[in-house]
């Protein structure tokens, strides 16, 4: 029977790992991720979960161990944050190029120096080009549901790409919320056991990760991009099937809130996206046609869905919790790239905020919206990129 529990985002990620019947976990602690791996350690040591738990000596080894375990036929899981993810960087490329469906919870945290354990997306967005599918969650239920769906997606033989499920440190990682844990039988029906097309098997020997010359290298990279395109098609299908079975959907690629008739759409990711709903309601009450759209998947990027949003809106304002130094916020860059060459495209403005855990409240978002509405009125964006709430 489904069970309603109240727990933190991190513990819920641990519950999802258990529900997914992961075989091997390899993890190293880092704030604010630690309680994910503590929760899993509890499950494993009390016998609630039948898994091997490798307490590695670094995140680099965590990912290397997941790669070894996945190649040897195990369903694998790890979790990390910020510097841990950065240390894994080499192995992130390895995991995707080896086409191993590892799922990792990334508890988003700012990169140092100065040391900062609070949320922003600088860690995971810096890993954009590693070939990992990236989901971003906005509440604890979504963390659970997305991890389960992530296994179904990335183990699909048309995909076979590793997947990050990101949630913001402290904002979600250490905040308790009610979460429904579905009946295990239902999860098992939705997520069958890992059935890899090839493994390290002495009876069917193959060599993985050979030296490869320029004559063949590119083809393997092409297959990875094809796999991402397959993931692009499968993500909404899997989300719908999950929705039918468990009654929860999050809008596929983009959660749209009062966007249908909106002149201004506020585009963001993670919890800023849920905070923006409050702003939208307040502005709607005052007669402004504003909507909020929350991007849930950053890779593969929802290009067509952004185009679709832009068709009806006069203006798209993007709030980024990260900055690509010397350019703009990553979501802003990608959203603009998605609309390149479209006639009658919307006005676009980018706002940078919430770095290193700085709060972005509905009032901050309201200021962003009001500024945007002014741009919309005048038909001209006075400042293309602006930092929000900066001390001067």
């Amino acid at each position: 029977m489904a069970q309603l529990i109240i727990d933190t985002g991190n513990h819920i990620a641990g519950y999802a790992c258990k529900a997914a019947k992961v075989d091997v976990i390899a993890a190293y602690p880092i704030t604010p991720q630690s309680s994910v791996v503590e929760q899993i350690a509890d499950f494993v040591e009390t016998g609630e979960m039948d898994a091997k738990y490798i307490r590695v000596e670094s995140e680099h080894s965590a990912m290397a161990a997941c790669i070894g375990a996945a190649a040897a036929g195990a369903r694998t899981f790890t979790a990390t944050s910020a510097h841990g993810l950065a240390l894994m960087h080499e192995m992130l490329h390895w995991a995707s190029a080896a086409r191993l469906p590892i799922v990792m919870a990334v508890v988003n945290r700012a990169m140092g120096p100065g040391w900062n354990i609070w949320a922003d997306f600088s860690d995971s967005l810096s890993q954009r080009d590693t070939g990992w599918i990236q989901f971003y969650c906005a509440d604890n239920q979504e963390i659970f549901d997305t991890i389960i769906q992530a296994y179904r997606l990335c183990e699909d033989k048309r995909v076979r790409m590793p997947t990050m499920v990101c949630h913001e440190g402290l904002v979600l990682s250490h905040t308790s919320m009610p979460v429904e844990i579905p009946d295990q039988k239902d999860i098992d029906e939705f997520l069958p056991p890992y059935d890899p097309p090839w493994i390290l098997d002495v009876d069917k020997p193959v060599t993985h990760g050979s030296l490869i010359y320029p004559e063949w290298y590119m083809e393997f990279r092409y297959f990875m991009d094809e796999a991402m395109k397959n993931a692009k098609k499968l993500i909404p299908e899997i989300a719908k099937e999950y929705g039918r079975k468990f009654g929860r959907e999050y809008g596929g690629y983009i959660e749209r809130y009062r966007c249908d008739d909106a002149d201004l759409v506020l585009l963001s990711m993670g919890t800023i996206g849920s905070e923006a709903k409050i702003t939208v309601d307040r502005l709607r009450n005052r007669g402004f046609k504003v909507g909020a759209a929350r991007v849930r998947v950053f890779r593969p990027f929802p290009k067509e869905e952004i185009q679709n949003l832009a068709e009806s809106a006069g203006m798209l304002t993007v709030i980024d919790r990260h900055i690509s130094y010397g350019m703009e916020g990553p979501l802003f860059i990608e959203a603009k790239a998605s609309l390149y060459g479209k006639e009658d495209g919307p006005l676009m403005a980018g706002f940078i905020g919430g770095l290193g855990g700085r709060d972005v409240t509905y009032l901050d978002i309201e200021k962003i919206a009001q500024k945007s509405l002014k741009y919309l009125d005048t038909g001209r964006v006075a400042k293309e990129v602006e930092w929000v709430g900066l001390r001067r």
Binding site: D23, V24, A26, D50, A51, K52, I54, R55, V56, E57, S58, H60, S61, A62, A64, A65, C66, I67, G68, A69, A70, A71, A72, G73, A74, T76, E90, M91, W94, L200, D201, V202, P205, V206, T207, H208, G209, S210, L211, I212, Y213, W216
Partner: protein, 295 residues
Amino acid sequence: MIKLKELPKEEYFLPGNASCAGCGLSIALRLAYKALGPRTVFVIPACCASVIHSPFPNTAFASPCLNIAFEAAAAAASGVVAAYEKRGVKDVTVLAWAGDGGTADIGIQALSGAVERGTNFIYVCYDNESYMNTGIQRSGSTPYGAWTTTTPTGKKQHKKNVPLIMAAHDIPYVATACVSYPRDLISKLRKAKEIKGPKYIQILIPCPPGWRFPTERTIEMGRLAVQTGMWPLFEVESGKLKLNGPSARLVDKSKRKPIEQYLREQGRFRRLTNEDIEVLQKWVDGSWEHYERLI
């Protein structure tokens, strides 16, 4: 110790690999494979072995192999072992096979972690005393005085003793071996295969292009390394060190050939002055005194 006629006739390291003429590594791979048999899963980081065994789409291995990043062999092997344990796969030997750079330098953290966790695997460091695959650069395992492309006037530090570092981890089995003593090498791998937990074996691999000696003298170089005491053959079990084969009688310093006989045969030591040789000889003698205390 195994008799020569008991050696399996089957070849598992297959012809057609891309090793250099006189390559000590290819000899070691062939022997180790014969010792362990085809139910062996290799985990190989960046090193000569990763290049010579399987240029795509070919492979010279008769059993599965996972290639992995430079510093990650021991960690990836931990994952393979955990997956097999969880899946109930038995009678398979997981063998991490790394060079001295991937072991003494960039891979030592993952190695230390994996053996500390009690991982049930064999880790072989094939030691050619430099980064040979990248073009003969100095590693922590390069001996004092040796020329490499990054120590053009000779290395100023002594060789890192990884076998003793591993022994300090208090693991069930640590051994050294050399391709010039195949029966000793095979016996040690066979013994390691039967022991549960982490096993570490370091095999000295003379390398003609890296050490600068003629390709037909690989075995001779290994013999000289052992006979001069530059490379002692030993095992460490339960904290006790046991010298094996020809090394067993070399505790008596007078039985050891002067290291000069070894050094003079190799171009990499050509620039060594008499003072340098004295420094190195002192270090060799000192390390034997240390081994003696561990017997």
